[in-house]
Symmetry: C2
Subunit: 287 residues, 2 copies
């Protein structure tokens, strides 16, 4: 069987899982964007990395949306394995987070070709001198991951921690976030197929801790820029907002419209009568 | 390390994952009720088996709530592995659903003692003569599962399919649901440590397909009855509604109140100011 799905592992802590408020952005819903659930591919919807009840918009959604603009006839699959609040020690080889990520990716590889690794982590290594060992710990984890997944050369893309971290409600916990950013950049600059994406000008939820939904849309576009051109992305990209609109305003297919109605009905947000009426108005030839 | 957590595997299709509307019942939130996420234990919140965007209240929540009434000083851990729309063939040994369930349970067993298996499945085997092979297919899966998890004797509890199935919007697809129920009961009656729980008098969401939230609360109580007394539960239990109230009206501890506020804040449903004000009103000594 030809592997039609190009899959990407999502790994790290809460800002990879995503905590953007769903209501702040238009949905990205595309039958060609899949997510791994219980080892099977489902159409991606947000939240996709449901590690906590606060899970929301993730940067991986707009990453996938941008990927789709560049790969019109192909499918992308996201493998959500990020876990809120996790430190590099929590991601140590042999630990449950690491082993779960390896296992999920191997399930995904049965029906996809692993094409990249998306990493965002470091807030929980931004204090108590943890930044000093960040590079070495990360190197061990990524080397082991590449070996176990037989993926020595695929792009490993990491993003910077937000500059809002030091000023928010929890700011006192992130005294070393700039050091972590330096180590992430150094990792990208000293390892093959590793790239660093700047979080410059991105903003936070009121918690001063998590990127807001619009910023995550931008961040995903920057991650894709790094993936596509295999280079670091040192700051904002021209046209980020236009690209977000292009992705979010993509017309839904007939099937997608029907699925979105089914979801709304399944959540009890639409009566049976309204559901059936709206379903019947979806014309047969608009996809 | 002593295994303090008693864990239960949740397996089957959508009615085990749970599609009850969250807003229809009071939340069950108890620090001693945990759920496995990325191989780690988190305080259970609903939806806990997030297999689809329509995931909601699950029977496992009130199962755990009832378990807690009977085990005041112990922790219960739920391992959510159910997947919507899955047939027994989808659960075949070696397939991704089966392997994911085994893997997740093995991760859970690092820090818990596997104490039971909760099964609800069969809607997708209620047509095209699939019910005729239900017993044999289920027997193969459960035997393999018990062996792989080294759990030959723990209770395996299954529940009946709802009597609403034949009359709803999708009724034509479930011509054999009564046969599946007979096979589930026969499985319980002919296998050691296997029990059948009746779905009698339980009702559905407007889709006529998924148990509604209140019914799932009742169903979980019946599952616990089967677990506790190691016997089939042939119908409703006296006092189900009172038991639901007892579980749902349990006073939150200080930590639980703070966590619920954090979730509300994290979802953007509470301003920073309101969050901090409400957090400060939680007295120090009420847990």
């Amino acid at each position: 069987m030809e592997n039609l799905i190009h899959s990407f592992l999502m790994i790290g802590q809460s800002n990879m899982a995503g905590r953007g408020f769903i209501r702040d952005v238009k949905p990205i819903y595309d039958e060609q964007i899949r997510m791994l659930v219980n080892g099977r591919w489902q159409t991606m919807s947000e939240p996709m990395n449901f590690d906590r009840p606060t899970s929301g918009v993730s940067l991986a959604a707009s990453f996938a949306g941008t990927w789709r603009l560049n790969n019109e006839n192909q499918q992308i699959g996201l493998i959500p394995c990020a876990d809120g609040g996790s430190s590099l020690d929590d991601w140590a080889v042999g630990g449950v987070l690491y082993e779960n990520a390896v296992f999920q990716t191997k399930l995904a590889q049965r029906t996809s070709s692993l094409t990249g690794i998306l990493w965002h982590q470091g807030e929980n290594d931004s204090f108590a001198c943890r930044s000093e060992t960040y590079y070495d710990k990360l190197a061990v984890i990524i080397a082991a991951l590449r070996q176990e997944l037989e993926a020595p050369d695929i792009p490993f893309i990491t993003g910077g921690l937000g500059d809002f971290l030091s000023t928010g409600r929890y700011g006192k916990y992130f005294t070393e976030y700039k050091s972590v950013n330096r180590e992430l950049l150094r990792f990208a600059n000293t390892n093959p197929n590793a790239y660093f994406v700047s979080a410059a000008e991105l903003t936070a939820n009121p918690d001063g801790l998590h990127f807001d939904a619009l910023s995550l849309r931008k961040f995903g576009i920057r991650y894709f820029e790094a993936f596509k051109h295999q280079k670091n992305v040192p700051g904002p990209i021209t046209g980020e907002n236009e690209l977000i609109n292009t992705i979010q305003d993509r017309p839904f297919t007939k099937n997608e419209k029907a699925s979105l109605l089914e979801i709304s009905f399944g959540l009890g947000n639409l009566s049976l009568e309204d559901f059936e009426n709206q379903l019947s108005t979806i014309t047969a030839f608009d996809s």
